[in-house]
């Protein structure tokens, strides 16, 4: 989409370069592309309108007209403005009060219960002694869910299944004060912002417990309705922040911008999985990239770096330079990639539009990796060093030894020789001044 948007804008704006003045119509055309891109990312219609008006002047100003690549220049401006709107990175949780009270609220199924426990885990890693409070008395099995999740993380959960939500919250805080737990995290039932009685219940809990944080939990897949939900909850309760969940999928997540625009509250965390450690600080800049379809390259690079052995990388780089890359090195690379994450996770972080079409639709079969590893493992060291010697009888032997077929072996060998050719090209590109991504770190043939 990013490539798409930049391209479209490029075409629209090329004609404009050097013109002294832009016609209203030219400007509208460029802004239309931006508007559509944001709408496709699920930013609310009205928010998009407002945003596009805000950037109108900058988007067609001097810096764009003078640029050789006006399309990309505009995208850069849009990206900057989006990032600025998204606010600074601020995952700090206010823990004022003894015990501090953190209250979660949101629509049904948005991820409150899971997030409550994730937050508790996060805070306990920071040296706190959190207590979970099961204040959802409506959904079948809600308290049980919180308790099971709490148990699995070794964290206590306060329950009183017969009592009212307000009562449970009060008791939990009293219990925490007595037993030295701090903070108390209140998991409330999912509810519609239209439901006056249920909203009153939250107001009552807030009034009695005076939470330091009142966080709205929002599903990142939400569409146009995010604006209604966020503004209603904010008006009723006065939110202090937002947590965006289910960002591990392929949603562009425009709801982030909508919610931010109508509440002004910081987005504090992002939920990126069902497991209890799948909670990350919210990165505005990355979110802006994601909304524009630029992929989450930064996260990918960060993860890759974390899973990457520097020394090995340097050795590998030398080998690549001397074109001594062997099947053993290939296998090692595969293993390292798998440490970064599953292939699907890696792909999800890449900018979709910039990937080759086949790759975009690729359903990576993790078993494929295992097959490749098995094939390489069945080769002799001599074969791995010099695949050229692998004739057809050797291929048959390898296939038998690895429990694969000769076709599998052939495919791997073809891929490998293609890869070697690619490295050769990359070597010459680098001489022409292209740098690897990843803050100057080397040895990244796969990205």
């Amino acid at each position: 989409m990013f490539a798409n948007l930049a391209e479209k804008l490029q075409n629209t704006l090329r004609k404009l370069r050097g013109k002294g003045k832009l016609s209203e119509k030219d400007v509208d055309l460029a802004l239309r592309e931006i508007r559509l891109a944001l709408l496709e990312a699920d930013v609310n219609f009205k928010v998009v309108k407002e945003f596009v008006e805000e950037i109108r002047e900058r988007a067609v100003g001097e810096e764009v007209r003078q640029s050789l690549t006006p399309g990309q220049q505009v995208v850069k401006i849009v990206h900057e403005e989006l990032t600025a709107l998204m606010g600074r990175e601020q995952s700090k949780i206010n823990l004022a009060g003894s015990p501090a009270v953190i209250m979660l609220a949101g629509l049904q199924g948005s991820g409150k219960t899971t997030t409550a426990v994730k937050l508790a885990v996060e805070l306990s890693h920071g040296g706190r002694k959190p207590l979970l409070a099961a204040a959802d008395t409506y959904r079948p099995g809600a308290a049980e869910q919180l308790q099971v999740l709490g148990d699995s993380a070794g964290l206590p959960c306060y329950r009183n299944d017969g009592a009212s939500p307000v009562q449970i919250c009060r008791e939990a805080v009293r219990f925490a004060a007595r037993e030295g737990y701090d903070p108390v995290i209140l998991d409330t039932a999912g509810r519609l912002h239209l439901d006056a009685a249920m909203m009153d219940e939250l107001k009552e809990i807030k009034a009695q417990l005076k939470p330091a944080e009142l966080l709205l939990v929002v599903d990142a897949m939400t569409g146009q309705d995010a604006v209604n939900v966020a503004s209603s909850f904010h008006e009723a309760l006065g939110l202090t922040g937002v947590i965006l969940t289910k960002l591990d999928g392929d949603t562009r997540g425009g709801a982030a911008l909508s919610v931010r625009a109508v509440t002004g509250c910081p987005i504090k965390f992002a939920g990126v999985g069902e497991k209890l450690d799948a909670l990350e600080p919210f990165h505005p800049e990355r979110m802006a990239s994601r909304i524009l379809g630029m992929g989450d390259l930064l996260t990918l690079i960060e993860k890759a770096e974390a899973g990457f052995d520097q020394q090995k990388a340097r050795k590998l780089e030398q080998k690549l330079r001397r074109q001594e890359f062997t099947l053993d090195d290939f296998r090692e690379q595969l293993q390292q990639i798998q440490q970064i994450g599953s292939m699907e996770e890696i792909l999800a972080m890449l900018p979709a539009a910039q990937l080759p079409k086949e790759l975009r639709r690729l359903q990576v079969d993790e078993k494929q990796f295992q097959r490749i590893e098995a094939v390489i493992a069945s080769m002799t060291p001599a074969e791995r060093n010099n695949p050229a010697i692998i004739n057809s009888s050797r291929r048959r032997r390898i296939a038998r030894g690895s429990g694969t077929t000769v076709q599998d072996v052939n495919r791997l060998l073809t891929q490998f020789s293609q890869m070697q050719r690619l490295f050769k090209q990359m070597g010459s590109l680098e001489k022409k001044g292209f740098k690897n991504i990843g803050k100057g770190k080397r040895g990244f043939p796969f990205f």
């Binding site: 709107l85 049980e144 309705d225 209604n228 359903q363």
Partner: protein, 301 residues
């Protein structure tokens, strides 16, 4: 002005603009660009999706000029009929002879599968069927307990195993039990999964295969459960889930909120299956047959 104030002011302005647009939509009057723009806007705000919205309005323009239509109301009527036709066509599948009808509920996390399973069970039971629920989500904390409570409320039997066990095995057991007990309808809950998770989609395929092995021809209905608040991601959900297990219908949940659920229109490009039910609340009775014409009208209102 700070950020929020700026947006508040802007949104108020665009609200006025929007109301003007609504006037455009509802007053009779000539068919000009403003009218079509207002239609587009209404569709997009209803989450129909950019591509589908532009396409629908484009088609409408052609149709209007082809049929030489001059009235806004007539044009709107055509659009509504178009949307209605796209979403209509839900039919109760015929129950197989001497074997249970098998229904599988699938979808992303938190969309409403478990609740819908219970509501459906209740519906079938009230129609006089012997119903068996299957606790096919062995992964999420307390998912089995949740369905157990619903099963008791709905007055139907439940087949369950330990948390963490293989969901395919649960279905294997359940289908054998269903045949032995001569149950009429089997309704299977599954764990929520994002369509981007290859392993979890493989798990779903396996469930489907195992069901088909125990009872050839089953599952007869595979219902993709979609939350009405979902935006464009619904399109990807439709494609990916359908690749894994052919979807036969949609259930649109949480339509009791302010979201219009228009994404089911965009999902039709891939799926071409009817919306079978809508969820309108958290009680057992809150599952209604889908009324396409009402839905289309609400989208444009």
């Amino acid at each position: 002005m700070n950020l929020v104030e700026r947006f508040k002011a802007g949104l108020a302005r665009s609200k006025e603009g929007f109301l003007r647009h609504l006037d455009l939509l509802f007053s009779g009057g000539e068919l000009n660009d403003d009218f079509y723009e207002a239609l587009e806007e209404a569709l997009i705000l209803g989450d129909v999706g950019v591509e589908a919205s532009l396409k629908l309005v484009e088609q409408l323009r052609l149709e209007v000029s082809r049929r030489k239509i001059r009235e806004r109301n007539q044009a709107k009527e055509i659009l509504m009929q178009e949307i209605t036709a796209m979403l209509n066509g839900a039919e109760e599948p015929v129950k197989p002879d001497g074997e249970p009808l098998v229904i599988l509920l699938i979808g992303v996390n938190g969309s409403g599968k478990t609740t819908t399973a219970a509501k459906l069970a209740y519906r079938y039971r009230r129609e006089g069927n012997e119903v068996l629920l299957v606790a096919g989500d062995t992964f999420r904390a307390a998912a089995i307990e949740q369905l157990q409570i619903w099963a008791e409320r709905a007055g139907v039997a439940l087949i369950r195993q330990q948390p963490g066990s293989d969901p395919s095995a649960v279905f294997y057991d359940a289908l054998n039990a269903a045949r032995a007990r001569q149950v009429d309808v089997v309704i299977g809950d599954t764990a929520g999964r994002l369509h981007t998770k290859v392993n979890l989609m493989e798990e779903l395929k396996k469930i489907n295969r195992v069901i088909g092995r125990v009872q050839p021809g089953a599952p007869h209905r595979v219902l993709l459960v979609i939350d009405a608040t979902t935006g464009h991601n619904g399109i990807a959900q439709a494609a990916r889930f359908n690749e894994a297990v052919p979807v036969t219908g949609l259930v649109l949940t949480k339509l009791d909120g302010t979201a219009r659920g228009g994404i089911v229109v965009g999902m039709q490009d891939t799926l071409k299956v009817p919306v079978c039910y809508v969820g309108v609340g958290e009680k057992l009775e809150d599952l209604l047959p889908f009324e396409a014409a009402d839905f289309a009208r609400a989208l444009l209102a």
